[in-house]
Amino acid sequence: MSILTLEEITKVYEGKVAHLAINQLSFEVEKGEFLAVMGPSGSGKTTLLNLISTIDRPTSGDLTINGLNPLQLKSNDLSLFRRRQLGFVFQDFNLLPALTVEENMILPLTLDEQPVNVMKQKVKRIAEQLDLTSILEKRPFEISGGQAQRTAIGRALIHEPSIILADEPTGNLDSKATRDVLELLSNVNKRSNTTIIMVTHDPIAASYCDRVLFIKDGEYFNEIYKDDRRQTFFQRILNVLSLLGGNVNDLSTIRLS
């Protein structure tokens, strides 16, 4: 069963020079799938993520999330839709600096006006799962990047959304923290069958996914599915990337762990 369907999605940025960011892109994401979207700089990855996040509207085409077409919702309902159906993880974490780790995680629940005991229970469970229990009272500037990203993942998970959208979640992390975060995402995906769509530059990050979708200049380029071993999957991803023919600079440093 597909949880997300894109049909012929096109996005044109109007302006002095019109820019075609996404061109007739179609794909589906199955429920419980862990999908990576890769592509060189300027290929439209972030635009694509914004369209799926429903904070940007496509110029043409159709979008279905969990059986609903967000394009037909009013802006108010759209906000409520995002609040319940989507979770976000960002490259620079975007934790609210004024709030503690715990408060950052419960933020989506308070917006939804949930009872305090429910919030307490959920935050306790998630904190244990993400190993954040010891730093719940700390503020974002007092914790490491890995901890911050885990907090952000906790915030994205706490309201049990249908889809988690991650924009370069490992972009600001060192290799150890990167591995932790990716394993965590992978675990979450397997254990609670949460659908994850992750935009990334990093072939290592992509190698944790079930499927990698490559786009180039806003168009579908290729897709590959994971096989038994992560090492060979990683190698195949590298092959496609070199085929993609971007500049060498577009490929971030390759770390073989």
Binding site: F90, A98, E103, T110, L111, V116, K120, P140, F141
Partner: protein, 643 residues
């Protein structure tokens, strides 16, 4: 591009950032210049007026400068802090520290030069208008515009040196940091909103103590108390902002049932950071607003004071003459002539007062004839009196005294002429100045008055009498130019004592009133201008703070919007963040000024007799309207920016 051009472009192309700051400093310079224009005015010859003009303006200027220094220093360091990334880039490109300092100096001087020039230009343009207002207040004939180098030099000197000092001291902040720190920018969130519980408690306790002392003073007034109260209130207010508010918020934040509710989470957390950052500014704004409310309150209450003053001084011009006064006729003639010159109609009642010794009081008393009092009462349109033979009434010093002696009954004998009289209460009007009455004046019936034929022991007949002249002028406010020379002779010889060495006494409530009124109006006017400058400065600061935090706030609101916060809810969050910033200092200032007013009423008895509830309410409503519209203006700008 030369170095100077670079500095110039930095300022000109950032005009939007500097706009509010420039506006505030221009206005401050404008007001300062106008004050100096009045201070050096060559046409003010009147000694008294000169004292007020010079002293008042000087004080206002000092206050203005102190607050302007605060404002400039605070704004400049905030500007530099906001631009730290830019400075980091410049230093990284190889600019040395000396050049950086020179650049900051040049930029500050450009700002200083622009604001001083524009401020003086508009100041000169508005001087005439200012003089017209002053002329109306002091009822002067003319106060022309003049051209002199003094106000220009004073303003330019004061403000340019101010800008030089500020530019040096504010750049110290930048110099202390190394390039990497500068490039990263100053993470403004990277400090805990630290507060100490002890200081928080102290702040609240000091405020409560100050308020309780005010209430105590209502019962028992001690002058030194005012200093204690002011110090307590100032320190208390400061601690209230730096610690107490955060402590109170901290208590709420510990109670998750209260705190973990939709927007409170964000609002409280952000709110405490903003309060911590702006504590000092809130403190200044509170003090300034309190002073502003208070001065406006005092002066608006003055309209009520007019009626009260009239009641306390019903006789428009009062002249009394002892037996040894050689100028009696000359003076009275002069007063009448002057009244005629002013085109004022008057009624004159002459009292011939006899002196006798009272047996019960064992001292000299003044005896006034019933029919003469009645003819004055007719003119003043107050109730007449009817005394039987042998009866007398005391003339009270003041209205308060009347309450104490209204039912007094006493048997006494006027010893020299041996006339027994029965004192039956007091007259319910204060018709004569207390200095003349001296607690020993009686009204007696005409028949008894005629019976007084013997002089005081040891004096001649002529020496045991005196004369009062009471001029009743219905347009009493216009008598301020009548009898001014006599008044001057008297005030100079008496000083501040209440012993009158002259053989005559004159009181002109119109003149006194005009002095009191002018002083108050000047106080109000200068106070309001200073308050306006400071409120504008505080406003510019709030604007600037919002502007520099805009990028960060935008990002934060973007995250929130992605997480599913609707636009309506976003406005609610903004409201919850902005409202405390605008209305917390204002609210505390309201409470402060209410208590200060209570204290002032205790302090100044004349004011206590005046009901000022209406006036105070009007002032508060006016300030509220201004503050609310200012809030909506800023909120509107802010929301358009973040959406």
């Amino acid at each position: 591009m030369t170095f100077r051009q670079f500095a110039y472009h930095n300022v000109i192309r950032n005009a939007r950032v500097y706009a509010a700051f420039l506006l505030a400093s221009i206005f401050s310079i404008l007001v300062f210049f106008v004050y100096s224009m009045l201070m050096f005015h060559p046409k003010i010859e009147d000694q008294f007026l000169q004292n007020i003009a010079f002293g008042g303006m000087f004080t206002a200027q000092v206050i203005l400068i102190i607050f302007t220094v605060f404002f400039l220093f605070y704004s400049m360091s905030a500007f530099l802090q906001a631009r730290s990334q830019e400075f980091g880039v410049l230093l990284n490109l190889g600019m040395d520290n000396r050049q950086l300092n020179r650049m900051i100096f040049l930029e500050t001087m450009i700002l200083g030069f622009i604001s001083t020039t524009v401020g003086i230009f508009f100041g000169f343009a508005f001087s005439k208008f200012f003089f017209m207002i002053i002329r109306e207040m002091f009822l002067l004939d003319s106060l022309p515009l003049y051209l002199s180098w003094k106000p220009f030099v004073l303003t330019i000197f004061v403000f340019l040196s101010l800008f030089v000092i500020i530019s040096f001291s504010s750049s110290v902040f930048i110099r202390k940091k190394n390039i990497v720190q500068l490039l990263k920018g100053f993470g403004r969130q990277n400090e805990q909103e630290a507060y100490s519980k002890r200081r928080a408690m102290l702040g609240i306790l000091l405020l409560i103590a100050a308020y309780s002392l005010v209430i105590l003073s209502l019962f028992q007034l001690k002058v030194y108390m005012s200093f204690i109260i002011i110090v307590l209130a100032l320190v208390g207010t400061y601690l209230f902002y730096t610690d107490s508010v955060l402590y109170l918020l901290g208590i709420i934040r510990k109670r998750k049932n209260l705190y973990w509710r939709s927007f409170r989470l964000i609002a409280f957390a952000e709110g405490s950071i903003k309060i911590r950052e702006n504590a000092r500014m809130f403190f200044i704004v509170t003090v300034v607003s309190t002073i502003a409310f208070l001065s406006v309150g005092v002066v608006t209450s003055f309209t009520s004071f007019t009626a009260q003053y009239r009641e306390m001084n019903p006789v428009s011009i009062f002249y009394s003459s002892n037996w040894d006064n050689p100028f009696e006729e000359e003076h009275v003639m002069k007063l009448s002539q002057e009244l005629q010159q002013e085109g004022l109609s008057y009624e004159l009642v002459k009292f011939t007062v006899k002196k006798q010794t009272s047996s019960s009081l064992r001292k000299e008393v003044n005896l006034i004839k019933e029919s003469e009092v009645n003819s004055l009462a007719v003119a003043l349109k107050i109730p007449l009196i009817d005394l039987q033979n042998g009866e007398a009434m005391i003339i009270p010093n003041t209205l308060e005294d009347y309450e104490g002696i209204r039912t007094e009954e006493e048997q006494t004998v006027l010893e020299e002429s041996n006339i027994p009289i029965q004192i039956k209460g007091a007259y319910d009007q204060v018709i004569f100045p207390s200095l003349v009455i001296k607690d020993n004046s009686l009204i007696i019936s005409d028949e008894d008055y005629e019976l007084i034929t013997e002089p005081l022991y040891g004096y001649g007949l002529r020496e045991s009498s005196m004369t009062f002249y009471a001029f009743h002028v219905s347009e009493w406010l216009r008598t301020k130019d009548v009898g001014t020379d006599l008044d001057r002779v008297m005030t100079q010889s008496m000083g501040t004592s209440d012993v009158n060495p002259n053989s005559f006494y004159i009181s002109n409530p119109g003149l006194n009133y005009s002095i009191i009124r002018a002083t108050f109006s000047l106080l109000l006017f200068t106070g309001l201008l200073v308050a306006a400058v400071l409120l504008l400065a505080a406003g510019s600061f709030v604007y600037f703070k919002l502007y520099t935090d805009l990028e960060r706030d935008k990002k934060q609101y973007d995250v929130l919007r992605r997480m599913g916060v609707t636009d309506r809810e976003l406005v609610k969050i903004v409201n919850r963040q902005l409202i405390p910033q605008f209305f917390l200092p204002w609210g505390l200032a309201m409470v402060h000024s209410t208590f200060s007013f209570m204290y002032l009423q205790a302090f100044w008895v004349d004011l206590a007799a005046v009901s000022i509830v209406m006036e105070m309410l009007l002032v508060l409503v006016a300030f509220t309207i201004i503050q609310v519209s200012y809030f909506f203006l800023i909120r509107w700008r802010y929301i358009t920016h973040i959406q």
